[in-house]
C-alpha cells in the first residue's frame, strides 16, 4: 500500500520541520526566539522522528507513519509527565511536550490519509480490473 501524493509531501514537510526545530538547541535560555525548549536528548528524538518521517514519506507505507506518530506521542507524554520533576530525561518543558505532540498529531493525520488514500487506490484498481474482466 502506498500513501497519497499529498500525504507524502506533508510527510517530508513535517520531517523537515522536526529537523529544523533542532536549531532551537542553539538559542540561549533567555532568548526571545526560544519558542521550544530543545536540549541534547530532544535533538536526538527530533532527528529520529525526522529520519523515520522521511523514510515513511519515501516508502509511502502507512505503518511507518503510524510508527513515527507513536514515537512522537511517547516522547511528548514522557516530557509532560517529567516536566518540572526529577528525573527529567529529555530535559525539556511544556513547550517541548506541546511541539512533540504536534508532530504526533501531524504523523497520525498522515497515517490516516495514507491508509485511506491507499484503500481508495486499491478500490479503484479492483473496480478497473473488474470492469475489464466483466
Amino acid at each position: 500500500m502506498t500513501a497519497s501524493a499529498t500525504a507524502v509531501r506533508g510527510g517530508y514537510a513535517t520531517s523537515a520541520a522536526a529537523a529544523v526545530a533542532t536549531l532551537f538547541v542553539f538559542a540561549p535560555r533567555t532568548d526571545a526566539i526560544r519558542f521550544v525548549a530543545v536540549t541534547g536528548p530532544v535533538v536526538v528524538v527530533l532527528l529520529v522522528i525526522a529520519a523515520l518521517g522521511a523514510l515513511a514519506s519515501r516508502t509511502g507505507r502507512p505503518a511507518l507513519f503510524a510508527a513515527v506518530a507513536g514515537v512522537a506521542l511517547a516522547a511528548s507524554l514522557l516530557q509532560l509527565a517529567q516536566f518540572g520533576r526529577d528525573p527529567n530525561w529529555l530535559g525539556g518543558n511544556g513547550s517541548t511536550a506541546s511541539f512533540l505532540g504536534a508532530l504526533a498529531l501531524a504523523f497520525g493525520g498522515l497515517w490516516y490519509a495514507a491508509r485511506n488514500g491507499a484503500r481508495d487506490s486499491a478500490h479503484v484498481s479492483r473496480t478497473r480490473r473488474a470492469d475489464r474482466s466483466g
Binding site: L80, F83, G94, T96, S98, G101
Partner: protein, 181 residues
Amino acid sequence: MHETVSDRGSPVEPLDTGRGSRGAVAAVRVVVGMLWVANSGWKTPPDFGQDTGTGLFRFTRYAVEHPVFPPYTWLVDNVVLPNFVLFGYAVLLLEAALGAFLLVGLATRLWAVLGMVQTTAITLSVLNAPDEFPWTYYLMFAAHVVLFATAAGRTAGLDGLLRPLWHRSDGRVARILMRVS
C-alpha cells in the same frame, strides 16, 4: 471577476482566496500555534509557582489583586486558588494542546474558539495588572477570530488534507470533525 450579489442586491467582493492570502492565513495559524507552544514552557508543575508566588500562580492572583470583572475575581478567589494545582494542570494541558492542534491545523475552528476562551480568561486575570499592555490580549483574541473565520487549517494544515476523507466517511467522528474544521 468573482463578484457576487448580496441579499440586498448590492455587489459583494469575495475575500481574496489567492495563493498569497492562503499562505498568509496559514502563517498566522502557525504563529498563533507557536505562541501557545512557547507559553506552555513556563507553566511549571508540580506547584505552578504557588510556593514561591511566581509563574502561573502570580498571574492568576492578579485577578484578585487587580480585579477586572468582579464575578471572575470571586471565581478565582473561591474556586481556582484553593484548587490551584488542579487548575495549573488544566491550563498546562489546554495550552499545550492549543499549540499542538493549531500548529498542525487539526480541528482548527474548535481550537480557535478554545483559544478565544483561554485568551478571555487571561485577559480577565491580568488586564489591570501593572506593566501590562492591554492591546496584547485584544490582538490575541482577534488572531483567533481570524483563524476561526477563515477555517485556517484548510490551508497547509491537516484539516485541508483530511476533510475530503471525512466527507466520504459515514462515521460520527468524521461528521463532527467536518463541523469543527
